[in-house]
Symmetry: C3
């Protein structure tokens, strides 16, 4: 009955789904995690077309194995090995034909594929969704990574119970290369949807997109929670319940890695270490979407330490995606 509501729905960003829809994903993901065998033929005979423009480990494995565990099949398609993009076939034609064969399409496309024009790879995903009359799931574009966000919030709920009044620190970290902002964007949006008090922590110059910030502020207003921006690691970490570490590139020099580097190299000390974690609450959790550059973004002591729940977080990708797939297909 409820599932009918989501049948056929695209998932481009969690921000476009209602709170009830997001909750239904989390609820079903929890059930699937507890009793996976009960869902072994939920998607029997159904096929997911996974279109990858970029390499992937977690996303690829969790989607493909998730489909298998639901009795369906996932086709792994490397965009380089197909007639897609670069002018060889219109997205309209590709998407329309895919919709005749498969039951859903999922797409990973990073900003390098669309020449680091901010928002452009998201447009590719939306163009697929426009023409395919089967659900399209964003497996990470340049703006959003909704499946990661849902796995994150499921993990936080499992570890924290009630989220009201919990302090969520979303911290920038140094990395040798300027990475996309899809994960911090998505973490910010989901945390404010679920009523967490968010401290967005980063060096000056690494602000997130104003549109995203504006959505996050609206979320806070609607949900009675707070959003602060901080540039001070010690202050931000103090009394945190959740520390979410992620490297991202400066939007001021988006697609200009040489210029960006001059800014970035000043913040090599932005690494999450045990001293910082000691400032957080006793039962706080350390999160990262992986892959993590160890001893650059966070020390081994943190990554392998008592606060770290990174593998539980990664595992939850499987469960939320199975729930999403079951609800929309």
């Amino acid at each position: 009955m409820f599932q009918g509501n989501l049948k056929g729905k695209d998932l481009i960003t969690t921000q476009e789904w209602s709170f009830e829809d997001l909750e239904s994903v989390l609820k079903l993901a929890g059930d699937m995690k507890k009793n996976p065998k009960n869902f072994s033929s939920t998607l029997q005979g159904k096929s997911l077309i996974m279109l990858f423009f970029n390499p992937s480990t977690r996303t690829r494995l969790s989607f493909e194995i998730g489909m298998t565990q639901l009795g369906g099949h996932a086709v792994y398609m490397d965009a380089e090995k197909a007639w897609i993009g670069k002018g060889s076939e219109s997205i309209k034609d590709t998407a329309s034909v895919m919709a005749r064969y498969g039951d859903a399409i999922s797409i990973r496309i990073f900003p390098n594929i669309t020449d680091w024009q901010y928002g452009k790879s998201n447009e590719v995903v939306r163009e697929f969704a426009r023409w395919a009359d089967i659900p399209v799931i964003n497996m990470e574009c340049d703006l959003f990574h909704p499946c990661q966000a849902l796995a994150d919030i499921l993990t936080i709920k499992e570890k924290m119970g009630n989220l009201r009044g919990k302090k969520f620190v979303l911290s920038w970290a140094y990395h040798p290369r300027p990475l996309p902002v899809s994960v911090p964007n998505s973490a910010l949006l989901i945390a404010t949807r679920f009523g967490l008090d968010v401290t967005l922590l980063h060096p000056k110059g690494f602000e997130l997109d104003e549109q995203i910030m504006s959505w996050a502020r609206s979320n806070c207003e609607a949900n009675g929670c707070n959003l602060e921006v901080s540039h001070n690691m010690e202050e931000a970490y103090r009394d945190a319940d959740i520390v979410y570490v992620k490297a991202w590139g400066s939007l001021k020099y988006y697609g200009k890695p040489e210029e960006e580097k001059e800014l970035r190299v000043n913040f090599r000390n932005w690494i999450c270490n045990e001293d910082l974690m000691d400032l957080t609450n006793k039962n706080s959790i350390f999160m990262h979407c992986l892959p993590i550059r160890r001893n650059v973004e966070a020390t081994d002591g943190v990554v392998d330490g008592p606060h770290s729940i990174i593998y539980d977080e990664a595992e939850n990708r499987l469960h939320v995606q199975k729930a999403i797939l079951s609800l929309v297909m």
Copy 2:
């Protein structure tokens, strides 16, 4: 009972299959399209080894999803990631071993893989068929694309009903690169097998292979239909029931793209547009095997217009291939 006849049979070109065999594919494809669930365990436990020497979207998806819908499994094998060809392993050894693991082999190999020696990539497919004692299905070589041909004729039958006396125009189109002749060869052969009156329309210099033409003429004699060659677009389009547009390269300069270009560039105006389609019969259909270079081979107005049935045509790849696989495996 009937299926016994095709069990184990290779499909290299439709020309080598009897009319009854081709009809049995179309009949079963129609049944599978109507009632897909009835065939969900037809190939349970069976594996198709798909060997791709070249990129693919439609063929790869329709074969892999087709196998899944029949309860079987398709292994996607990128020839670059295997020890095949380039002297590393004989086809005899590769094919013999594949036949010990899988239940059928399907192969895509374009002329570039065999240095644009006309007929050479077809020989590779035949060499696999020689040594593998399981069925080998041609997923497009330099000479033939039999699965496309069967999807095409299924589509035409669905749209036209009785084919007797229907005018089928197979038209050359401009394209920036010289493409293989497998699709026009195959369309010509299947249309003449099924009794259509064919007008082969192309600029001078883009004649098809004499062997193919000779088979097509024999088909016409056997089936009481006509084959004409035309170099005049307006004349050919007039009163057409079916317009099949496809770009292909000149065999006179096969494998010599620079020389071929000098001929080709004179025919940039060979594009299917709405004025030409206005010359055809009211209920005529516009076909293309895809991918299509829009506004080069045909205008958006035609591709997205009322005559266009290109997505139905693409969908039928799935159904005819499921039928072929079920009959030969």
Copy 3:
């Protein structure tokens, strides 16, 4: 009951498995070969993550189709298309996450991936096994190819019956490139575990690793069989029951192909031909793990001749791997 013993066990080399464990694989492989349908849901809902750092035909097909025949699913993962190695993600993180999604991991990694440092690619496999709490299966590293070894010994048992007193000649062959030693290492170890009298035949300079030789001698002592080293083809072939031909590189110049070549080119005449096979016992068998460079390692006359059982040997990869997967997963 018995299966409980192997549940969760890694297979890095047969040398680390007890004779009883190896026998249980062969026993089950035999059953599966005879009655494949009885095992069609043995691994239902289970997923194998296959991680390939190098191209593969036989291994990839036999593992993927084997999983399918057991009702499970194999994910083909090209390491180039994932965030693995080259410093992008620690093996600890990759393996820990994989263990949350899949039910077993299998890995192929050749010495070129780890800069031809002898034993280094084996260490990568062991590092995965260290962190993944699901079974890890070696699909060939720089030291071992245990699945090939088990397929080999199953084939020998099928053809020879009782192995006691049978003469097994493991012969070096010329090849234009220095190949890994994993196959000769593994053949030597398995043959001496199963009581064959082994003649290791190679030109001077192509000795195998002393650790492997020492294990092989211990195996012989434990099993009452002999190990001889020979540099004389005629002597070694005389009265052989089993001839196993394989090219490998000199460990003295490991990772230095130019220097190695100076040694190697002196032995172009090390090819297995019909004259040599005539020296063997009447019912002797010719084995090769494939791919074989025909008329370089062995003549067509031998490869296609009456002694050759190479396709049966290749087929047995499927059966032993299905047995291994079923026992450890």
